[in-house]
Amino acid sequence: MSDVAIVASGISKQYHIGQLKKLNMTLQERLMQSATAPLRRIKGLLEGRGSAAADLDQVFWALRDVSFTIRQGEAVGIIGSNGSGKSTLLRILSRITEPTGGTASVRGRTGSLLEVGTGFHGELTGRENVFLNGSILGMRQAEVRAKFDEIVEFSEVGQFIDTPVKHYSSGMRVRLAFAVAAHVDPDVFIVDEVLAVGDARFRKKCLDKMSEVQKNGCTVLFVSHIAQIVTSMCSRAIWLRGGQVVKDGPAVQTVAEYLGEGLGLSAERTWKRESAPGGEVARVTAIRLRTESGEVTDCIDVRSGFCIELELEVLQHGKGIIVLHGLQNGDGTQVFSAVDTNNPTLHMKNWPVGRHLVRMRVPGNLLQVDTYTVETYVAAWEPIQIDQFYERNLLCFHVVDSFEQDSSRGKWGGTLPGVVRPLLEWDMQHIDGKSTFDRSRSFAGR
């Protein structure tokens, strides 16, 4: 199979973690232990054992039996929480460290960017660092020279290229470093959490560059905590937990499952009637997220609409009920709060005793790609407002990007920054040679 770029079979990596062999030692034993420690260290050294301290018998498996195959030109995201083995995997695939067990084969030139600015030296100028870093990353001098202008232009460092890097701002340093790495032109591009640095605009530029590289047939292996980047960049994701593959599949599903697990929340919550939370007038018995096709899910395609369904039981007659839902995104920003005020059949009307289903419909192509939590407020009205129910983080769901090109992102590969991501109406008129009448009409007419 010639189109296979990376094959990993049964990769394991064991680390020793420092822990004394016995904890219940007498003082004398302890003294003996420390006195003989250098000898044991030397013994370990002569045996070529790679442990940093003498008394290491506690082992830790950073990776355990990880296997996958990646085709040429595929973009694969690796996700997982801290310490799940993502970085270890990348380090093994880029030959920085050896696996304890298992084998892997990587076809072609590997460019790995495990940290932006590796090998930058503060005393050297930007120009000198470009050449040094380029050669460390695997470029020939002639290659660097040929791409030099391109690199400088991409980095936007401009006139400071002959200034020692120690005088650069951290942003400039990152830009220059990524610019070098992005021009290595590898067959397999291995990138670890490097885009967490730099401002949003430059990050976008980097992502665009990575998509471009990938479209040119380069295999991209990409680690990020920012799950949205993984879904927009990669068609496939591998989820690691505790050094093992939990799921390996389409990016959207894998990321959604991973995110859902992290928050411990789901797309539906129900309560038994007798223990339902609420006040004297109304109680909440269920809340769920339903797609337009009627499916209860925590993973919404950015293009599709969905509704939040609230099941209420009204206990007293002659009361009006107010329902409010709020949505908060991944960094806690309130995206919107919505009350049922605009529906005259619901708002402040008397609700009959019994169970009710209240639906709030959210259109597709409105929310940004992110993880959201839902808060809900229910109050009784008549004659005064009395709180019945309020809870944050009731539901959690993810709006995920789609690889298709009919969302507001269109054919563009990068992310679209912003709190919301609406699909807006655009039009264009060729106004040369036309009367101004057309121009004034253009929007007023709608």
Binding site: R95, T97, E98, S105, V106, G119, E123, R140
Partner: protein, 281 residues
């Protein structure tokens, strides 16, 4: 130009290595530019933000020479094979300082560049190698000063000067062999960093830097002495440049063998420990 491009069609196999693995010279050659740029970096960075700049390359051996001349030449009346003592000691200090500085820098090369070692793959041998190469510029500068001193003291070099490059190779090989062991060991045991400057100081006294090797008369001791390859280098330098009667005899073969053994053993040890560098450093 495109040696690295050869990788394009090749498939890199990643597997746990077992036992001793050989040094891949072809791979080292493929990465020659990395070695060159790292050495260039060391050279460029070394005297940045200093007042004296590259003059330091000369100042170090020169001041040592002045002090030695006063203490050993004047006060202790050390014999110097009929050569003015300042030239006699300086001619030894030039190769010795090359060796000592190389070992100091190279033994710290992996630890000092941990940021690169843990993030990029390249043959780790490039690190100590480039550290030593970076020292050659200092050596050349100090050597020019030696020529100036010879002119000043009216010492003319002999035709044996043609052997100088071979002696340099021996010095380089010795420095590399020692550095390979120390650099690899230093990753795991930072004791090396503390021990090296001290050990080098002692080593200078078992090398004929401040005294002539001719003081050692006992053949058994002479053999033991030749086990230190720098003895052959230093005495050879004096012989080639100053015309002392210290032509490298059969003992230089012993030195060469020791140097070869150091390189060979050092490289194997280095390779053996190499696989754990990134995890331990």
């Amino acid at each position: 130009m495109d040696t690295l491009r050869v990788d394009r069609v090749s498939v890199v196999q990643i597997a746990p290595s077992k036992g001793w693995s050989p040094v891949s010279l072809s791979e080292l050659w493929a990465y020659r530019e990395v070695i060159f740029f790292l050495a260039l970096r060391d050279i460029k960075v070394r005297y940045k933000q200093t007042v004296f700049g590259a003059l330091w390359a000369v100042l170090q051996p020169f001041t040592s020479m002045v002090i030695f001349s006063v203490i050993f030449g004047r006060i202790a009346q050390m014999p110097s094979d009929g050569i003015p003592y300042p030239v006699f000691s300086y001619a030894a200090l030039v190769p010795w300082m090359f060796f000592a500085n190389s070992v100091t820098k190279a033994s710290n090369s992996l630890v000092g560049n941990a940021g690169i070692v843990t993030r990029i793959y390249f043959p780790r041998l490039a690190m100590p190698l480039s550290a030593i190469l970076g020292n050659t510029v200092d050596f050349v500068l100090a050597f020019l000063m030696l020529l100036a001193l010879m002119v000043y003291f009216g010492v003319t070099p002999t035709a044996n000067v043609v052997w100088l490059p071979l002696l340099l190779v021996l010095a380089f090989a010795t420095a590399l062999g020692v550095s390979l062991v120390l650099a690899a060991m230093n990753v795991q045991f930072r004791d090396v960093g503390h021990a090296v400057p001290f050990a080098l100081q002692l080593a200078m006294f078992v090398t004929p830097v401040v005294y002539p090797a001719s003081l050692i008369k006992d053949p058994a001791w002479q053999f033991a002495y030749a086990l230190n390859p720098m003895v052959g280098v230093v005495e050879g330098f004096r012989w080639a440049l100053l015309g002392t009667d210290t032509a490298p005899g059969p003992m230089i073969l012993v030195s060469a063998c020791v140097a070869a053994a150091l390189i060979f053993g050092g490289a194997r040890y280095f390779k053996r420990i190499e696989r754990t560098f990134a995890d331990v450093v």
